[in-house]
Symmetry: C2
Subunit: 454 residues, 2 copies
Amino acid sequence: PGRFFFSPMLFQIDHFGFAEDRTFKQRYLIADQHWKKDTGSILFYTGNEGDITWFANNTGFMWNVAEELGALLVFAEHRYYGESLPFGNKSYADAKHLNYLTSQQALADFAVLIQHLKNSIPGTETTPVIAIGGSYGGMLAAWFRMKYPHIVIGALAASAPVWQFDNLVPCGSFYKIVTEDFKKSGIGCSETIQNSWAAIKQKGLQWLSNTFRLCSPLKSTTDVINFREWLRETWIYVAMVDYPYEAAFLQPLPAWPVKVICKYLKNPKLPDRLLLQNIFQAVNIYYNYTGHASCLNLTQTTTKSLGLQGWSYQACTEMVMPMCSDGINDMFEPQKWDFQAYSEECFKTWGVRPRPSWIPIFYGGKNISAHSNIIFSNGGLDPWSGGSVTKNITDTLVAIMIPEGAHHLDLRSNNPLDPISVLQARLLEVHYMKLWLQQHKRVAKADHTSLRVS
Amino acid sequence: PGRFFFSPMLFQIDHFGFAEDRTFKQRYLIADQHWKKDTGSILFYTGNEGDITWFANNTGFMWNVAEELGALLVFAEHRYYGESLPFGNKSYADAKHLNYLTSQQALADFAVLIQHLKNSIPGTETTPVIAIGGSYGGMLAAWFRMKYPHIVIGALAASAPVWQFDNLVPCGSFYKIVTEDFKKSGIGCSETIQNSWAAIKQKGLQWLSNTFRLCSPLKSTTDVINFREWLRETWIYVAMVDYPYEAAFLQPLPAWPVKVICKYLKNPKLPDRLLLQNIFQAVNIYYNYTGHASCLNLTQTTTKSLGLQGWSYQACTEMVMPMCSDGINDMFEPQKWDFQAYSEECFKTWGVRPRPSWIPIFYGGKNISAHSNIIFSNGGLDPWSGGSVTKNITDTLVAIMIPEGAHHLDLRSNNPLDPISVLQARLLEVHYMKLWLQQHKRVAKADHTSLRVS
């Protein structure tokens, strides 16, 4: 969307302990073409689980509003993702090397980076900073404002499921919203998917492997379990990126991809064989819209820019988000939330045990009304909206709903096909940011006046 | 002051990482004789660098106001002090074992403990909690409110030098206030101390050792440097505990100990020998008011209940408080703040390097106006008042000055000899706490009403 330059900076590997005193290079991007030195602002993207250049290229909103806010844009890469690897190619070697991959360390990186920028870029010393992020990055933006209100004057937390923890929301809401998206997008669509699970059980490994053009044929019952999980994830991902125009966020996709997919899933009563062939056509939209894929790969469900490995570790430590399905209110196979099994799996994979109550204890759960200046924006089509803040908490902790929006649509570039609701949301977001900036200017001026008087 | 019961609880050794998954027993004290189950409150003492029973016995204020506030009293011991040792007697073995001794870990302990109490003591689920602490514990109380406003509705931070970091206040203010205390307490007093430093240099090791009845005679130039440091610390400590009545906080002492000491230090023009003999008489008040000591010990400057070792480590990591003296505005030998030397000394002693900007970056430095409901109380005689908040920041971040008060006098039990200023301060503190409790009740009621309406 615009030119920016890379910059690495040295950070403590461990902000919260002193035995590990080494530093590492963290990457951040800066774009200053719209920055107004004295009257402007800094929009700070709180990087999430992936390559920061990819996020910067998918956060056109910041570029679109930069001129209006005279903003310096900063995109900070989250540690352990992209090129910001604390221990180089050993960063993921074991639990010891992964020990510094936490949200607290990431927020501390952001705080230190902003301090560094203010000390090193002339004219930024007193420039107000606004945090912006989406998804996990949206949680980070909100938490950054909560924990470091002296560093950011406000935060836009787009599609940030800050309440998808412990028992703050029902564990079934996520799959229910995915299902609703498919239900809304075509007659028979969710029912076809619902019926596919039983159909799969009737079919042999060979047949499934051929029909779904899998790169590695299924060889065992475990493989079939993974295959069904892969299908489940596919439906989730396509619901998340159900954008109103052609886009390539998780995968290159047509406009309204769920609708396109549902065209293949109109008849839930078909015999297993035909039903599953249709399911393949649907899945093929998500994995092969470009037509370049010669086979489908169960292990690569999204763009490589997303750090699925790192997120798997984070989900096994802090980011424990209980999910469940019942097959009645949703189109998925019934699956209870089984923390014990989850914990065992985490221990097997990463050698760590999750701590499910830590995030609510540390960040406040539903009891966050003491904070201020946070916008929680949500897409009505986004499965994550079920775990997010969808109603105003106070005058300054506000929620914005975008009924036609998928996962943080509001953070994307303006597009002629944008529904009105997202245009309104963006206007409202800018309105709040301007309020924060005015408020900041008033307070700064008052401080200055009282300094001169006294 | 009242009966209480001990209780240990298991805490994560590392709240901020998952590779170390072991737990340890932390001690806390509870007193429930004044607790009113439905209408009451919890007063939570954020333990600082020492044995929690000693602090509980020196925080009579909490016992005095317990009935009025229907309060359950909780005194939480700070990790690595008293009996709350994460690795038992190996806790201080090396930098690796000490790695979890940080303010962030301590605050997380407090948060988890309060969550645990609310889950386990029937009737406390919605009871509002107020944090109370003095000195480093006062910083913890303030920081606890800043970082966990969802857990404590407010904080009383008594004599909490939250600004004694980096270059937030002049490094000389601390020694200047010590000097003023001695100046105010007797003619010739501060001058006598000022002249003692040169006098010491004129005297031999043997003579000094005998005159000051040292348990271990001075043997080297390093020993004399330590001797002078010991004297310096003595003056600091006695200024800190310059209470209006007989008390035994750091040492058993008479009422207004600085005045008592200054009776021996009226004549700064005496020959070195006589001047130093008077200095000994003065020092002997601090170390031997009971008359039981047969000799003076350079290595034990205060009660053993204070964890000087742990504090030395904390001062070498997070708690870097720049101090300097110039011998003009204070009675001490001129000593610049030399961070490099300080850092080297820390590395030699503990194998760690201090990070002097971390505390201001993490806790906000002087930019804390986004927070609310914190009382910063200060004693005019307390050297630490120079690094504390002594003026209101907002309507809800308020400062209280106690001109005749030494180090957190307001937290001590009521005493017939209390100056009016501390009685007024305590009344004001209770007034603010009641405001917070009323505010909390209003909000809770409003939430309840809106829940019933919707």
